[in-house]
Symmetry: D2
Subunit: 333 residues, 4 copies
């Protein structure tokens, strides 16, 4: 399976390594608006830098990995589908739910797999929770709690074009809730700017709590902060009628040091590249399984639309100070 990479930035490099490690896939081309980035990655992997048009037109190329900036995702998916490519696209589809809904329609008509990069679904810890829960090990689901803190806030320049915390950061957590509990009925958002006043001045929040309520009474809580002094905090906790499942942080090493000052252990793995390294590899293998083996896509465009709709509902809830029904933002939900 021959793959072309769109985007040679931080996340593009991670995917390039996954493609290389999987003996069933081969990276053959890269493209990036930043020429130097494309050339550097191409040199390291011994491949060619090509234009997007050239890649789309090449019948030898089976699949596209879209890791370019968010505003290019929707167009590239549409062009890729039209060109008959299998597509793996980083989240989100687009910042606009309307635009994403059009992409959903187009992707639905594709004969090749179109997969969204919700990497956390492939994290061995969260996947183990999903498997245990679906196997009924803790009975019927009642409450879900997702904790997701970044080590440090992004630059305000980024915040301004990010679409806001709910669409940029919490979207992963909305997807995690959907992954485990399905689509909720309503969204209540709380948020404030405690980490960096400039984020508040830019009209965004950096500290947020969202409560999702489900039609059958289940409740999910998401907590986000743009800054945790100790690093990247990524936990999930699910209470069921017969017990609880918790995925705790992965830590840098297992060493415990005990001295007169106390007992100390390693911090959580620093950030998403470290924490989700294994998830990215498993995610890529799942995409190859879908393309080569005809297996169902484990994170679809529809999943991408759903997460975006929850973010949209959260934005509206925060603005209006009241719970917002998901059906009000996502027709037919």
């Amino acid at each position: 399976m021959k793959v072309a990479l769109f985007g040679a930035g931080r996340i593009g490099k991670v995917h390039a390594a996954s493609i290389r490690a999987d003996t069933r896939s081969e990276l053959v081309a890269v493209t990036d608006v930043v020429a130097a980035a494309a050339e550097s990655l191409a040199a390291e992997h011994g491949i060619a830098v090509r234009s997007p048009e050239d890649i789309l037109a090449d019948p030898e190329i089976d699949a596209m990995l879209i890791a370019s900036s968010t505003n290019t995702h929707a167009d590239l998916i549409e062009k890729g589908v039209a060109a008959g490519k299998a597509i793996f696209c980083e989240k989100p589809i687009d910042l606009s739910l309307e635009r994403a809904l059009r992409v959903r329609e187009i992707a639905a008509a594709s004969t090749k797999p179109v997969m969204m990069g919700f990497n956390r679904r492939f994290d061995p810890n969260f996947a183990a929770i999903k498997m245990a829960f679906d196997a009924g090990e803790v009975g019927k689901g009642e409450m879900l709690a997702v904790t997701s803190y970044d080590p440090a806030p992004p630059p305000v320049a980024y915040v301004k074009v990010s679409g806001g915390l709910y669409r940029d950061m919490m979207i992963h957590d909305f997807d995690m809730c959907a992954f485990l509990f399905g689509l909720p009925e309503s969204v209540m958002a709380h948020g404030s700017s405690l980490v960096d006043p400039a984020i508040g001045e830019a009209g965004d929040v950096d500290t947020a709590v969202v409560v999702l309520t489900y039609a059958d009474g289940r409740l999910a809580t998401i907590r986000n902060s743009r800054r945790a002094a100790f690093g990247y905090d990524q936990r999930v906790e699910l209470l069921g009628s017969d017990g609880m499942l918790e995925a705790r942080n992965e830590i840098e090493n297992t060493v415990v040091k005990s001295t007169a000052a106390g007992v100390s252990s390693a911090k959580p793995m620093f950030f998403f590249l470290e924490r989700y390294m294994r998830a990215y590899q498993i995610e890529w293998a799942a995409f190859v399984d879908a393309v080569e083996g005809g297996k169902p896509v484990p994170a679809s465009v529809e999943d991408g639309v759903n997460a975006l709709a929850l973010a949209e509902a959260a934005n509206r809830s925060l603005k209006e100070g009241r719970p917002v029904a998901v059906a009000d933002v996502l027709p037919g939900a």
Copy 2:
């Protein structure tokens, strides 16, 4: 310091043991509407069963420990204050916030300490969080999360007279938030009946999430369930600008068993009598310190009123499906 005990039930027995263990206090009388209960406790401790009136009139008795049913608390506090007794009263003051406000006024005029039994403030784990937080070890507070699950739901007959989950169970968690973060600005309540349909039919919830928002943007989340299959789950997590503090569960023992079936460890201590045993002893010592040593009361009638006001706001929020300002239920807050 001579103490009379009002109420010889489960919690009364716990307090009797604490009084006995503290060499500065002496249990001298007990009273209970259930004569057999009073007699049994009296026999075990070699003390007399006396009537409430008799106790109140006895100038030899320095302090009253009120562990009788909730509907007697307000009256007993008022009578005790009038009789010049030092008073330790189990929570809540009353199910009615109005009634509690009148008690607050009377207690404010007492020359002797009046203390409310918010036992969790004395739990060594939560007390350690309080101390570390107040010492600035994790910087400025940003988010708080309190998890509090009971092992099993109470009988529906109890639920019906309990005042509802927010007043009966979550009141401890409201106090924990107030203990650590102070009084919030507004309360948003979610709740459903997933554990026992009969609880829902009785008009109460058994699964609940409440979000407290503070004037300065801090956020606190409380999660309650009337049933956790693994036992009593009591955790607090505080995120600050410089780090995080977590109080994890205390477990029955430290044994870890590793077999082909997996790695297993002990469950959390079963219920409040086990988990908060040490807290009850420390709590009693703090009361004696207040009475004998003139130290400030570490859990006051005002604290009791505040927690009740948050429960009242939660009830209203759940009913109306919107956030409720604390000032709307507690004049002057």
Copy 3:
């Protein structure tokens, strides 16, 4: 059950509190060569200071709790048996194995329980290991590892009269091995003085490893240090054919603090008074059960002799640099 306490020092006070807490027993007298110590304890508990002779002669006194210095144990046990008292005696019986063997004979003839204070058998963690192992939860025993570090070395003056590390400190660990695995066949001791050179100059070791080999091939390892900078380290690990049981340290509280500096938790409970508080209470209840309820004594004079014999073998092994058969020091073992 009326009890007289011999010895009002640190451990005597612990036992006095246990006696008070158990409603089935009553402390009625105390004696100590240090008059001030006896008087202070007597005042706190409202009891009389009496002479040993007076106590032994008083038919009203049912039981003796011997917590005086080691060199008085053997005599007091013998006199107590002669006086028809039930006896609880702190370990060791004596520093001399010969003397202990004579006490064993006398105790065997007593009509009342004679119990040795091997408190660790009653620690809920070690007791849970014993129960799980005896129930076959990890199959047949294969290896045992006992780790036992004190927070700080005792004064050299104490070391000189202590009988040496194996008899004074490791005796608890020898008993733990006997408790779980029975009496071994041979003892190989290693030891050195790394903590305090003065201990080495006094002819003792402060850092020690002993390997016990059992007739059927099982192996037990004991590690001792007179100093662990982080506090009192008390762990047991048992490998069986079907799995492993570990008793980890009990810690001061469950709070975890995560900051830029790392993740830290509380230290182990400081020393034996803190760590074994619950064990002392349960131990006392077991003695009362034996005296009042006719239950078997859970730590006998024979157990005391066995532990002393292992210490004796270890001393000989260290001196001669070779394994020593237990039968060579304990006739009939």
Copy 4:
């Protein structure tokens, strides 16, 4: 850097993946006495199967990775040195200490790096212990404890040619002790056959404890079992004058499940391929650093000789039932 692989078995495949993942090295040839194994690996990596002679004679090949059977190691190292290759060889050098000593001499004269595959030195957990210890974070070393249990015993046919537990399995732990504490003065071995009687009948042990004593009084304890029902147990614990360092097991995932049956978590990573995956990658990078970057070899032939000498001493100690001086088996130690 062009690399030829000797041995296409389980461990050969692991190294092939490491070579592929490191962009600085390229796998160009493979050889194996089992032709099918060589061909399969060659096909997967798109490389040629060649004869050992051909590889040794090819000046284009910079380095040899020796992962063939133990009895070929010494010869291949010698031939590789003669051919001017950089060499990475799996442990052990040979089962014979004499033979290993001759290899040591030859390797000492090589102008290219010769490195032994003591993979555990590169495990991030043990490496973190080494770094913290060398940085003085727990003061002077006093005691070391290495626990190393395999999930299941190997076939008896393997045991018979393995050189015995001390040389085959504990050799890693001897190296770990040397890595952290240096070469000891004497070795005392205990061992028995509890896991599989057939192992005992073959003249080997499957359950073993070895105590190493150092000239300055430090003590190291190694515990080995050929079978742990819960999987691969790999821990190191180091007590220093200022504290303790522990490397705990790495577990399969961080999920904790709490139900009425108890609290359970994942087992340790199953066996060396899983547990030491990262270590193998880091180890290979260290070899490339030595070859390309001139850095010192972090695990030398001398280290291989030392570990073998400790195994030899252990064998003699077990046979003779007494401690054996390392100098008696390793001249000049």
